[in-house]
Amino acid sequence: MSASRRLDALRAAGVEYVAGVPCSYLKKFFAGCRELPPAAFLPAVREDHAVAACVGAWLGGRRALAAMQNSGLGYCLEVLTSLHLMCGVPLPMVVSDRGDPSDYEEHRILGQRTRQLFDLFAIPWRAARPGAEEEDARWLVETAERERRPAVLLVGKEADA
């Protein structure tokens, strides 16, 4: 058991490598990541480097997951389109769901278009449900593997676990 029920659930669902950039909505998740051995967690310096490192880990035979704030998605688009989507590389993603009207200004413009962004690139997503971490983890890993593309679990403020 780590500090994160979500991370434990994802590891039980088969995730072997995590790369990511922290978000305050994912405090528990990243607290869990810090307990992982160095070969299983990459504290990336920017989100595009995290998803690119996940391609390397996948080529190396690991089931790799990327975690980030939704503000980092813009940086990731080139890698998601020219590596994961183009080459058929699965990528489970844990992405925070910032940007509702009560959130700070800097989160709203991209945050309120996050779902449309995934839909535009035919990236499957679902909103995480508090208490359903195990089922959400299985859906995320199975969907990414089956469709050989990114799949996203959107984590709102109340769903950090």
């Binding site: 490598y17 790369a19 160095p38 070969a39 990459l42 990336a44 310096v45 920017r46 595009d48 480097h49 995290a50 690119a52 490192a53 996940c54 391609v55 390397g56 880990a57 996948w58 080529l59 190396g60 035979g61 690991r62 790799a64 080139e78 890698v79 389109t81 020219s82 590596l83 183009m86 080459c87 058929g88 590389v89």
Partner: protein, 186 residues
């Protein structure tokens, strides 16, 4: 020394077990033409991510992982050397074929003539980092780099001229990725 000659030189020094990540654009095409290997991943896009992909491989594989990078490519994703230097995977060997320009798009100048890439890699924490200016020294420089403690960084200055452009790699993107993954799973 042309970039294509430098690519061929580096590949000639690598055993077949080594894993190679070849930068998108001319470097991948020249790597394929010089010596196609089952364990070479040919990037097509994602400029700036050579070191990051190599890092993901190096932390999950025991073999040596060689990042075959370009100067414009490295500068685009400069944070990559911070992750490699900070985490210090001993099996990651990074070489930058430095022609001082964006050759693939028409030779526009890059900032690599104003930025000391080897000094940046050393400052980021690579255990060994050198710059090689002259073609006649390149063979010895490559040998010293591959014998150095990793992560090791070699900035290999090459000519800007591109006398014989290499054709595109004749594989689909899915095939390029699956081939490397399958070769590493054996």
């Amino acid at each position: 020394m042309t970039r294509a000659e430098a690519v061929a030189l580096v590949l000639s020094r690598l055993p077949e077990d080594d894993v190679v990540v070849a930068a998108d654009g001319a470097i991948s095409r020249e790597a394929y033409r010089a010596h196609d290997r089952l364990r070479t991943f040919y990037m097509l896009g994602s400029m700036g991510q050579v070191a990051s992909i190599a890092l993901g491989l190096a932390t999950t594989r025991p073999e040596r992982v060689v990042a075959l990078d370009g100067d414009g490519n490295l500068l685009m994703g400069f944070g990559g050397i911070a992750m490699v230097g900070g985490l210090k995977p001993a099996n990651l060997f990074h070489v930058v074929l430095d022609n001082g320009c964006y050759a693939t798009t028409g030779g526009q100048p890059a900032l690599s003539r104003q930025v000391d890439l080897a000094a940046a890699a050393a400052a980021a924490g690579y255990r060994w980092a050198r710059r090689c200016e002259r073609g006649e020294d390149a063979g010895a420089a490559v040998d010293a780099w591959l014998a150095a403690p990793g992560p090791a960084f070699l900035n290999l200055v090459v000519e800007a001229a591109d006398p014989a452009p290499a054709p595109r790699v004749p594989m689909t993107p899915e095939e390029m990725a699956e081939r490397v993954r399958a070769a590493l799973a054996r």
